[in-house]
Symmetry: C2
């Protein structure tokens, strides 16, 4: 009977593993991939999606197209029962759990981003991990240009035109290079923005960028980016962030509306929930990629700690988390699963990097291939050729190539597609002295203090001013219940503070439809404001879709 | 001194009006367009975006590219002070109001969708008005196919594979035709879905579809769509909708997860707020498109009621809300504004329709051009040629043409791009007898009853069952506060009900960070469940981005 090989994850590691297992075992194996998305993301192209040189749809391939003969399940993994050999998932809009049995399990769930070590960063930074992230970044940059074009306030304009990227590794450098190209090529449509007003900064905590590349190439990259007007700060990290500022570890306060964090890799919550042996945040495996203590569970890719030698201990003794390695690991894991089914001995994973490439945007790059080094246009062309050849599927390759040709021929579109509706409940970080909002501003929601202290100054009808200081648990801005559309008070942070914002529409729905809040606000408004409030329109408006 | 001509709206009417005014008046006018989006949407292509034959970015053009010499402001109109001749807007992320002065104001704000007359439709129907709508529909259809492919529950599969479109006008017919083509072309990737299991239905309340076209062409369209497996119900409308069903006015209950509403045009809230004379939901203008009672305010497009003859009263006496008319109106309004500045007499808007075209998907169409009628492939080709020529800007035309060619050559991508994160606060409609959730389901949030009555059945630890009936103001599902991930109770609607759902993460943030809810739930859980709850992680997780 066919063995059921179940692969968790549809990235480089998972997709290629499923593909290789199917190829090797054919009808002898039922191969299934469980993936949150129904597509494979070609990660190296994400910066180009963010810069608009490739359409989002064209930088990804449907797993169903790539994995013929493999069953693809778009679902979220909830848990694994290693004794019963069953994975429990939630699929579709369904809330009913589904059980998927396996004979061999391959865990390739990658990593996620955790920015919680730096105050405010989780709340205010964009990331560059998923396709959604890339789309969001493009929309965000264009929105900033739109705003800079029409604002008459110099400090708002400065913040809108300052773009910061945290991390000078491959992802950070490629992102900043592409982002700068998008901005440069778009400025012709924004006559009120002078190129000299644009500031693009990248922060790298190490003493140089592109730490994984030879120093000579990193130096070339540094000079090339600097010549294009990108400011590179090495030996500098981020200390904290708010919606309008970034504070560096060097003490500089940068007014910016754009913080892109390419740092902070962390294990995904699912991996931690699986109850497998964890080593430095990754799943512990032996050199054959079999999970320590299990005969039928394998792990590879960014979520696994794969030793490349016996008694591995130093960082360099383990396989690095790159696409290049993941693809090779997939091949080896497939071979080992086949061997294990046939009762043959397993082989350790052995591979030496063939080199590294980085695009710097604006037709420049750096590359090291089998010891040879390339810079400039030739390296950039090599980058494009390499990744084009690396892309899975002919259709995808054709689409990307056509996108690239079109992008070379025509101006880049400055269409701002809203990537997402803002969440109904958000958090904001403020630094001591920051203004949360001021009198006359549009009333956009109700705020509650999570940490810190703030000051609310209200102008009374008789011309006098009332000041009250508030702290954790207090709320402000609730006058939107009376249809207040403009703020009557000015609120400032007295110390570094974190607040939770409930979006106007959501708050009205809650206050009018949710009984505990209804009675609380009836009482509260009567007692503190002497006002009578009766919820008039419970559930009056759709918040779905 | 140059006159300031301010255009509100960047659709067919507004974009062409700004363009024509600038062309006619050149340096004699400062022309500004205020638009919510920074792009012009070519509405007739939206069904193709929904079907994936054109990338979203390629179906729109940046206003800045189309309107050289015109100032484009991406902002939301709040109010107009007609005495001071000032429009107040909110721009960017800013909450500070900005005032924009004008000499002549052109209102071209279009229409919006209002589905509130039919219970549940606002909460559960998709619409086809904006680019976001089209993207969302494509993602929604593919998500249904993904779910149908993997579910083992026959009724879930039937609901996932039943697609309904409400309205048999141009928008409804083109949408249903394209949607069917997307499904048909995608099925090769979904081996578990038999084509016979797919049901696509369009409901039209009138006695025939395409009411604006000659009967002969509408009949052809009807036959062609029916032959392709699309079920057309005429004389039938929608009575009510839930997340899983649509009830028709004929009494049929259709199990469906997809309801696309192409009906329900209504004035936008901004238009109603402007305090201009309104006639049948539209701005009242004279035959020159000048707003009744104002010398310096003009209105055109879908938001204006433009009489085509003196003493107009019947529906046919007014300009129809089509792109074809809007473009002609724009030309006339520009001429009249120029005439008004030069003190010359104004001319009434006069135009006779040159015909109409509709695409039926799968390379079939119907067309009437200057009295001549076309059907089938020739009409479809005419449709594409006409709209290609009609598209503004050579770059856009080239992009659309290349998209079309690629789509003809390669399989359509089934990549499911998540269009949006679901809202934190949503509403759901249920019919009497519907299950809201059942024991063992994933706990996805906290529910509160807005209207109706429900029954909660809980299995106790000793094996007995407790039943309680709840109504407006009551809540259920709050055990997620203790980390409950699966439901311990089954909830059903006893009568037609509407509930508000607060998404799990949002609810935990609110209950732990918002003092009134914190104390309410401490008390509540102690009193009703005898459980001690202390909020442990206020604001623990980011809900931003």
């Amino acid at each position: 009977m066919a063995q059921k090989i179940l692969v968790l994850g549809g990235g480089f590691a998972g997709m290629y593993a499923a593909n290789q297992v199917k190829r090797r075992l054919g009808a002898k194996a039922d191969v299934e991939v469980i993936s949150r998305d129904n597509y494979f993301v070609f990660q190296p192209l994400l910066p180009e999606v963010a810069a608009g040189s490739i359409a989002p749809l064209h930088a990804v391939s449907p797993l169903r197209e790539l994995l013929r003969g493999v069953f693809v399940r778009k679902a979220r993994v909830e848990s694994v029962d290693f004794e019963r050999k069953i994975v429990t998932v939630f699929q579709g809009v369904q809330r009913r759990p589904t059980e998927v049995p396996y004979d061999h399990l391959v865990v390739a769930l990658g990593q996620e981003v955790d920015l919680s070590r730096m105050p405010g960063l989780t709340d205010h930074a964009l990331t560059m991990k998923t396709l959604e992230d890339a789309r969001r970044l493009r929309a965000h940059v264009i929105e900033r240009l739109e705003h800079a074009e029409i604002t008459q306030l110099p400090d708002v304009k400065r913040g809108a035109l300052t773009f910061t990227v945290i991390g000078g590794g491959f992802s950070g450098i490629e992102t900043v290079g592409e982002m700068k190209e998008l901005i440069d090529r778009s400025l012709r449509f924004y006559p009120n923005v002078d190129p000299g007003e644009v500031r693009v900064v990248v922060l790298e905590f190490a003493h140089r960028i592109l730490g994984e590349m030879p120093e000579k190439l990193a130096d070339y990259a540094h000079r090339t980016l600097a010549r294009r007007g990108i400011e590179i700060q090495t030996g500098v990290g981020v200390a904290s962030a708010t919606g309008t500022q970034l504070v560096t570890t060097a003490g500089e306060v940068i007014d910016t509306r754009t913080i892109v964090a390419t740092i902070g890799n962390a294990p995904s919550p699912i991996v931690l929930r699986l109850d497998l042996p964890i080593e430095k945040g990754k799943i512990a495996v032996d050199r054959t990629m079999r999970v320590t203590g299990r005969d039928d569970v394998w792990s590879l890719g960014d979520c696994a700690m794969i030793p490349m030698k016996d008694n591995a201990s130093a960082r360099g003794d383990f396989a690095p988390p790159t696409a290049q390695f993941a693809v090779r690991e997939a091949r080896q894991v497939a071979e080992n699963i086949a061997a294990s089914l046939e009762g043959k001995p397993l082989s350790p994973f052995v591979y030496a990097s063939q080199g590294a490439l980085a695009s710097l945007g604006a037709r420049r790059g750096v590359a090291e291939v089998r010891g040879m080094q390339f810079t400039g246009f030739s390296a950039w062309l090599l980058w494009r050729m390499y990744y084009l050849a690396f892309l899975p599927g002919i259709a995808t390759r054709a689409r990307v190539l056509i996108n690239w040709i079109l992008d070379g021929l025509s101006p880049r579109s400055v269409v701002h597609l809203r990537a997402e509706t803002p969440r109904d409940i958000r958090h904001h970080q403020y630094r001591a002295g920051d203004r949360v909002y001021e009198r006359g501003n549009r009333a956009d929601g109700v705020y509650t203090v999570i940490e810190g202290a703030l000051e609310v100054r209200r102008m009374n009808k008789d011309g006098t001013e009332t000041t009250r200081n508030i702290g954790p648990g207090d709320h402000f801005g609730e006058r939107i219940l009376f249809g207040e559309t403009r703020r009557g008070a000015t609120v400032r942070a007295l110390e570094d503070s974190r607040v939770m914002v409930i979006h106007e529409e959501a708050f009205l729905n809650l206050a009018e439809g949710f009984a505990p809040l209804q009675s609380y606000f009836s009482d509260y408004l009567r007692e503190t404001h002497g006002l009578d409030w009766t919820p008039s329109r419970p559930g009056r408006k759709n918040a779905a879709q």
